[in-house]
């Protein structure tokens, strides 16, 4: 080859047809499909991780001679798994053949509703089921007589209220924290994409 690389380069791009850029359309299409895919796979893994955890919990409490309590906690965890599975079905109703602005907006709304309903559920459900679990634990440990003898009804009522409120706060905080750690980046990405799409529209 006699030509220098400089000649090849300048001759190669003399024709304008080599400088025709690709058509820009639906800039966020691929990105948003990937984000939806990621959200689906992360939520699936996250939910399935409850199953081995419930088995480990059951084994732990069997070893500690608390079969009833272990069964109760495992049953609660399994209920959470099925509830989550039902709730996460919405992720699979997202139609990525629509414009990404449309389905990302829908997804954002669904996530917000999901967070709201789960917060409510944990705020009310966890104290209720947690308190019930505590009672099972006390009966299984044969501590009910000791507690009834030690505390007056008033003291028991105050302690119960404190336990219920603490469980409610712990439930909400741990859900928000776990949600932030596992889905925080993805949710932020969706919010950013929607903001940018809004800006692009202008």
């Amino acid at each position: 080859m006699d030509k220098s690389i400089e000649e090849i380069w300048s001759e190669g791009f003399q024709d304008e047809k080599y400088l025709i850029p690709p058509v820009i359309n639906d800039l966020y299409n691929k990105k948003s499909i990937l984000t939806v895919d990621k959200l689906q796979s992360v939520s699936k893994k996250d939910n399935w991780s409850i199953i081995p955890l419930s088995i480990i919990t059951l084994i732990f409490f069997i070893i500690k001679s608390k079969l009833l309590f272990g069964l109760y906690i495992s049953a609660l965890m399994l209920s959470l798994f099925f509830l989550n599975r039902k709730k996460l079905k919405f992720l699979y109703t997202i139609n990525t053949s629509q414009s990404c602005f449309q389905y990302l907006g829908k997804l954002q709304e669904m996530i917000k509703n999901n967070v709201k309903s789960t917060t409510r559920l944990l705020g009310i459900g966890l104290p209720f089921f947690g308190y019930l679990g505590l009672c099972i634990f006390i009966f299984e440990s044969n501590m009910e007589n000791f507690i009834l003898e030690t505390y007056s009804s008033k003291q028991l009522l105050i302690k119960s209220i404190i336990i219920l409120m603490s469980l409610s706060v712990i439930g909400i905080i741990s859900f928000r924290l776990a949600n932030y750690l596992v889905y925080g980046r993805l949710i932020k990405k969706i919010d950013e994409m929607i903001d940018e799409l809004n800006l692009l529209k202008k």
Binding site: I5, I8, E11, F13, Y18, P21, P22, I24, L27, K202
Partner: protein
């Protein structure tokens, strides 16, 4: 992104964006994605441009950074999914053949050789071929201008050898 922004700030510099995206992408599909992503990032970072350098330099830097980051992401992904890598290699070969059809034989061969260079050498030779001075290249890449001269001589020698071989 408004059409005016694209027409004024991106379209006149499409040449360098196209050349960088071609040099760093492995298929026609990747090339189109890279081009779109570069345009988007230029638009998104428009407010960070402080007139301290030329707009060309700004566009070049963004294009290079975007392409390198996408390339690394892809490598990471391919390393994780070995199967997909093999599949991608097969599809890339056909894509490259498709790409070659669009360009003259000489320039496609030159591109093939540029793609074999390291990430930094690709960046240097692209700037050199865009007729940028050693000083300008040194400012953009952040390497001493004397070293740029040595690097360019080596890269040119290597490419020439491959083209003649």
């Amino acid at each position: 992104m408004s059409k005016d922004f694209y027409k004024t700030y991106i379209f006149p510099f499409r040449g360098i964006i196209i050349k960088i995206c071609r040099a760093y992408s492995n298929s026609q599909e990747d090339y189109e994605d890279y081009y779109q992503e570069v345009c988007l990032q230029i638009w998104k970072s428009r407010e960070n441009f402080k007139n301290k350098s030329e707009w060309f330099t700004w566009v070049y830097r963004i294009s290079l950074n975007v392409c390198l980051s996408l390339l690394r992401k892809q490598k990471k992904h391919n390393d994780r999914y070995g199967f997909e890598q093999n599949y991608k290699q097969l599809s890339n070969e056909s894509d490259l053949n498709e790409e070659s059809k669009d360009y003259s034989n000489d320039i496609s061969r030159l591109y093939e050789e540029i793609k074999k260079l390291s990430e930094i050498d690709r960046a240097i030779i692209l700037l050199y071929l865009e007729k940028k001075t050693y000083k300008e290249i040194s400012q953009i890449i952040g390497i001493n201008s004397n070293l740029i001269g040595v690097k360019i001589t080596r890269i040119k020698k290597r490419i020439k050898k491959q083209l003649n071989g």
